[in-house]
């Protein structure tokens, strides 16, 4: 299988697995235990925490381990909302991951006003609207670092300048950027940040929420004194060790890997777009994750393309209504003003560590045939006409 769905999840790096293995049996005591075995596990957890802090340029005690991005987003939104205070407004963007959007919508039940700031055609949050919406009643602003579907990067520094002016907490879901590009929490003005291990070659089921000192938030799970009483439950030691290891690898390799993936990604787009007519790139042409390519193919539908790709042993994803359980087209593409039929024909290739040039060339060679076949079935495609009026 040529796997081009890395934004959905990544395979765990073998080096990470190797680092984790001792912590299932040999070093498997509870890190809260006093005995030596427990203290060994504690050390492993704390050393992973130190690696995360180093990568994100924050303090170790600002890192809270969680089960992943969704939990981190939930704690960030609900935790700050439940911590009390007078502020009753939560501002977010229209293209957030559902883990943030749905959680924000849920807080409406508890008397919070929720504002979703629109984005432009490239999926960049409208800073003018954000500026207007964020006021002294605003408790939290949650704007993602990079969007998972289109890869567009948000102007984090500009957003944090606005939140700082009004004393609002700034949370960013950085699940798609951590480990893929440098992040400097203090200089970016981030107050809270969500990350997830399995998006960058770590294991599934582990992530972290970074919370700068001085931010008030309530825990979601109550119980023991774990994670500074902010997240009760025995630590997922093997997972945390794996997360630490994957960060260690990322620190060393991300720069070179980013360049490599950008080249491969651009090769893919170049190859496809010269062979197939009437495509439209979704997302910002430059301000975009190096590994992400999202485009729409006119006249055909995404799921049928995915099935054809799958028959060719290629795994990708789509924002088509037909591929979503809810039968609604991607909220991200629609928020960018992509027409419904183009959202229907959208396709996302997201590249990663184990892709090679051969993989990319195979996709370039089979994709035009797939489009041709499906367009031949489509009632919307009129080759004689469209052939003459190419955009």
């Amino acid at each position: 299988m040529i796997y081009l769905d890395y934004n959905a999840t990544t395979p765990t790096d073998q080096r990470v697995i190797k680092a984790m293995l001792p912590y299932f049996h040999d070093i498997s005591a509870n890190p809260s235990s006093i005995h030596n075995a427990g203290q060994k596990a504690r050390q492993a957890v704390e050393s992973a925490r130190a690696t995360l802090a180093k990568m994100l340029k924050c303090q170790t005690d600002e890192i809270y381990f969680t089960s992943g991005g969704t939990e981190s987003d939930n704690i960030a939104v609900k935790g700050t909302a439940f911590a009390g205070g007078k502020r009753k407004k939560i501002v977010t963007s229209a293209i957030e991951h559902h883990a943030v959007l749905t959680t924000c919508e849920y807080m409406h039940k508890f008397g919070f006003e929720i504002v979703k700031v629109p984005v432009d055609q490239y999926g960049i949050v409208d800073l003018n609207v954000l500026e207007k919406e964020v006021d002294d009643d605003t408790l939290l602003v949650s704007v993602m670092h990079a969007n998972n579907e289109i890869g567009t990067l948000q102007p984090i520094r500009e957003v944090s300048k606005i939140t700082q002016r009004h004393g609002a907490i700034f949370h960013t879901d950085a699940v798609q950027t951590v480990g893929k590009m440098p992040i400097d929490i203090p200089s970016m003005g981030i107050d809270m940040l969500s990350l997830s291990g399995h998006k960058f070659y770590g294991p599934k089921g582990v992530g972290a929420l970074v919370v700068r000192k001085g931010m008030r938030f309530d825990p979601l799970s109550h119980g023991g004194h774990h994670e500074q009483r902010k997240r009760a439950g025995t630590e997922n030691v093997p997972g945390i060790v794996g997360l630490g290891k994957t960060c260690e690898i990322a620190i060393d390799e991300m720069d070179a890997e980013e360049k490599r993936l950008r080249k491969l990604r651009d090769r893919l787009w170049q190859g496809i777009s010269t062979k197939v007519s009437e495509l439209k790139l979704n997302g910002h042409p430059e301000k975009r994750l190096a590994n992400t390519l999202n485009f729409s193919v006119k006249y055909i539908e995404g799921e049928s393309m995915l099935l054809q790709l799958n028959m060719n042993d290629i795994g990708a994803s789509s924002g088509s209504a037909c591929t979503s359980g809810s039968l609604e087209a991607s909220h991200v593409l629609l928020a960018m003003g992509v027409p419904h039929d183009m959202a229907h024909g959208s396709l996302r290739f997201s590249l990663g560590r184990f892709n090679t040039e051969t993989d990319i060339d195979k996709v370039i060679s089979v994709f035009p045939g797939i489009v041709e076949k499906l367009r031949a079935i489509s009632p919307l495609y009129k080759p004689s006409i469209t052939g003459m009026h190419k955009e």
Binding site: Y299, I300, E301, E303, S304, L307, M311, S320, A321, C322, T323, G325, L327, E328, A329, H340, D341, H344, A376, I377, S378, P379, L380
Partner: protein, 146 residues
Amino acid sequence: MQYSQKVMDHFMNPRNVGEMQDADGTGTCGNPVCGDLMTFYVRIEPRTDELEKARICEIRFKTFGCGAAIAVASMASEMAKGKTLSQVIDLSRNDVTDGLDGLPPVKMHCSNLGVQAIHEAIKDYLTKIGRQDLAEKIRGCPKEEH
């Protein structure tokens, strides 16, 4: 998506794809759920208004939609081909999904379009030969609900 072998077969090798010059009837239905589109073209022989005698001797379709929608159209076209109009009018979405060995629950709505669009083509034929009265009795595409 867990599709049956039959669905995958019809999706990969759809039967009766295409358009038809001078079709006796054409019908297009849209799917209000996710915005897909299906067009059917039929040729009728003999060209009579007797529903028991007139047969669909040739059928073509085009679909903008998911894998299930394409397979549904292909299966429906096979089921309708060679049948009398009264037989085709009796075809239901269940006949099509059964023929495909079922569809995943979330895809059941895609099965509507196939039979509906063929029925719409029959309505078009009957209207063209001056039998609106018969055409009106057949349910074609669902009416827009907004």
